[in-house]
């Protein structure tokens, strides 16, 4: 029994560590991700049934690669496939690997080194010809091996609909011949933001306030893993490092975002002893390396803002002047509604609530944006305008679909009417 358990555990371990590496290599010659997935799935099945009997090969990854390649070739050689499509040159160039009884043995050429082509795979997933809405899901599936069912649950989409979108995207990649390559230094600046966005997307769905909480928590961890992988593969790209830093800081505070009763806790009321010091330290390291490269960008600025907030764990205070500078810079680089509302909130901290309200008034298109109304309600309260504050609270609450945030706003609303007092009601975008 021990042998079986060991072999199974080993197969799962290999699956987790190298799924994306193997898919990248298997799909690159033909662009057929679906076939690569089938072939690798088949190889894993053979591993699960064969390893407990024959023992775990010396290089499990190479074994899987060889078995999967043989399977790919069988499919390409099959009559059905030949009728469906002419045998492609790229297929004929598939490396001839040993077909002996123990692939992955010492004489197998693949044992030497399996190159890491996951970066090329990530660029394929976020290629301009792939619909933006499916890029994150595609990356979760091809790089991390998530099943459509798990991705569908995290996005709260019916499984059939998600599976169909993924199949369509893969067909497009194959038929449009999207190349499995890392863009050249000239193209990189134009292509990298989409990859960063797709990785960030795996983290950002965590913020959509409708349930399925368990899947979302696990996806936040996967997003951090993807970001760290990207930072490892692109060590000289400051924004890749910045994204990994941002997700490190944000993940560090995950445990402090809600109270024991599930109550929402805003950033400046969070108990810093609940923050993960290890993740904060890794954020600091990444951010330092990013800054040393001397090219500022959106994710580095967002990470720097997080870094200032996290410094409260050391200093006991929040440096609002630093936040003012960083948030203003962020609005210049990426003028999203969220960033502009953040800036108004920070201006209120440094220059008073009236200045913050003036900044809020200057934001166009925020009529239905919940954080804008929550911030307005808070600033009106701080400015002593309780009548307008009550109206803003009512509007903010009507736009809030998750219960903890609504309860939090209701408390702030009651406090502003003097029903009972609380330390400092506040809501920041994305907190």
């Amino acid at each position: 029994m021990g042998l079986r358990v060991n072999a199974e555990a080993r197969a799962e371990q290999v699956a987790r560590a190298s799924y994306g590496r193997l898919i990248a290599i298997l799909a690159a010659p033909t662009g057929d991700i679906a076939l690569a997935e089938d072939a690798l799935g088949d190889a894993f099945e053979k591993a699960l049934s064969g390893w407990p009997v024959a023992g775990v090969p010396r290089n499990p990854e190479a074994w899987l690669l060889t078995v999967a390649r043989n399977r790919q070739r069988d499919v390409y050689r099959s009559a059905a496939h030949r009728l469906a499509a002419p045998l492609d040159e790229a297929v004929l160039q598939l490396p001839r690997t040993a077909t002996g009884p123990v692939p992955g043995g010492a004489d197998d050429p693949d044992v030497v080194a399996i190159p890491d082509r996951r970066l090329a795979l990530m660029f394929v997933c976020a290629h301009p010809a792939v619909e933006p809405g499916i890029r994150t899901a595609l990356m979760l599936q091809t790089v991390l091996g998530f099943e459509a069912r798990q991705i569908a649950a995290a996005f709260v989409v019916p499984e059939a609909a998600m599976a169909q979108r993924l199949v369509r995207a893969k067909r497009r990649i194959k038929e449009a011949r999207i190349p499995f390559s890392v863009p050249s230094a000239v193209e990189l600046p134009a292509r990298l933001p989409a990859v960063l966005e797709a990785v960030y997307g795996a983290y950002a769905i965590d913020w959509q306030p409708v349930s399925a909480v368990a899947e979302r928590d696990s996806l936040a961890a996967e997003a951090l893993y993807l970001a760290n992988t990207l930072a490892e593969l692109l060590p000289d790209e400051p924004e890749a490092l910045g994204l990994a830093a941002l997700l490190s800081y944000s993940s560090a505070r995950a445990g402090a975002r809600s109270g024991p009763d599930g109550r929402f806790v805003p950033l400046d009321e969070q108990r810093t002893e609940l923050w993960d010091a290890g993740l904060i330290a890794s954020g600091e390291r990444l951010l330092k390396r990013a800054h040393a490269l001397g090219r500022v960008g959106r994710f580095q600025l967002e990470a720097s803002i997080q870094s200032v907030h996290c410094a409260r764990a050391r200093t006991g205070a929040t440096d609002w002047r630093a936040l003012r500078l960083l948030t203003a810079a962020l609005v210049t680089v990426a003028p999203t509604l969220g960033a502009r509302v953040s800036l108004a909130a920070v201006i209120a901290e440094t220059e008073g609530p009236r200045a913050g309200l003036a900044a809020l008034d200057g934001i166009e298109g925020a009529e239905r944006f919940q954080p804008a109304w929550a911030t307005r309600a808070h600033l009106l309260t701080a400015a002593g305008d309780s009548e307008q504050a009550a109206l803003a609270y009512t509007k903010a609450i009507s736009l809030t679909t998750d219960a903890p945030t609504r309860d939090y706003l209701a408390e702030g609303s009651a406090a502003s009417r003097g029903v009972f007092s609380r330390a400092r009601p506040d809501v920041r975008p994305r907190e």
């Binding site: 059939a160 306030p209 399925a212 239905r368 919940q370 009507s398 679909t401 998750d402």
Partner: protein, 124 residues
């Protein structure tokens, strides 16, 4: 202000949706209705049976006509309704975009003009 959130979606045949695929959507709709309820904005919620069990009745031609099936056979069918009582359209949009059906169909937001409450018709 009362709004009906009308789910309009392509109606698959029964064989097209296996029971296990339905389960996560049931959970999603359950959570959605409970969130609406917790927010105190839910008036009523209905997920309708398949459109082919519809019976259509009309006296328009002067005589009673009872017809088996929906009034019009279209690709998209009314799949359910959530009636919500919220302050304005912005709030209705905020809730409609969270409806699980928005992921595979569309949600028509239609304000009520008059509602029958407390034994009489009340203008909105």
């Amino acid at each position: 202000m009362q709004y009906s959130l009308l789910i309009q979606a392509f109606e698959p045949t029964e064989e097209e949706i296996p029971e296990e695929a339905m389960e996560p959507m049931k959970v999603a709709f359950d959570l959605y209705a409970k969130e609406l309820d917790a927010a105190g904005v839910l008036v009523s919620a209905d997920i309708l049976a398949r459109s082919d069990v519809t019976t259509t009745v009309t006296m328009r031609g002067g005589t009673l006509k009872v017809h088996d099936g929906p009034f019009a056979n279209t690709r998209e069918q009314l799949g359910g309704t959530f009636v919500v009582d919220v302050p304005d359209l912005d709030a209705a949009i905020a809730w409609a975009q969270k409806c699980p059906a928005a992921q595979y169909g569309s949600i028509e937001i239609r304000p009520s003009a008059i509602t029958f409450t407390g034994g009489q018709w009340v203008y909105a």
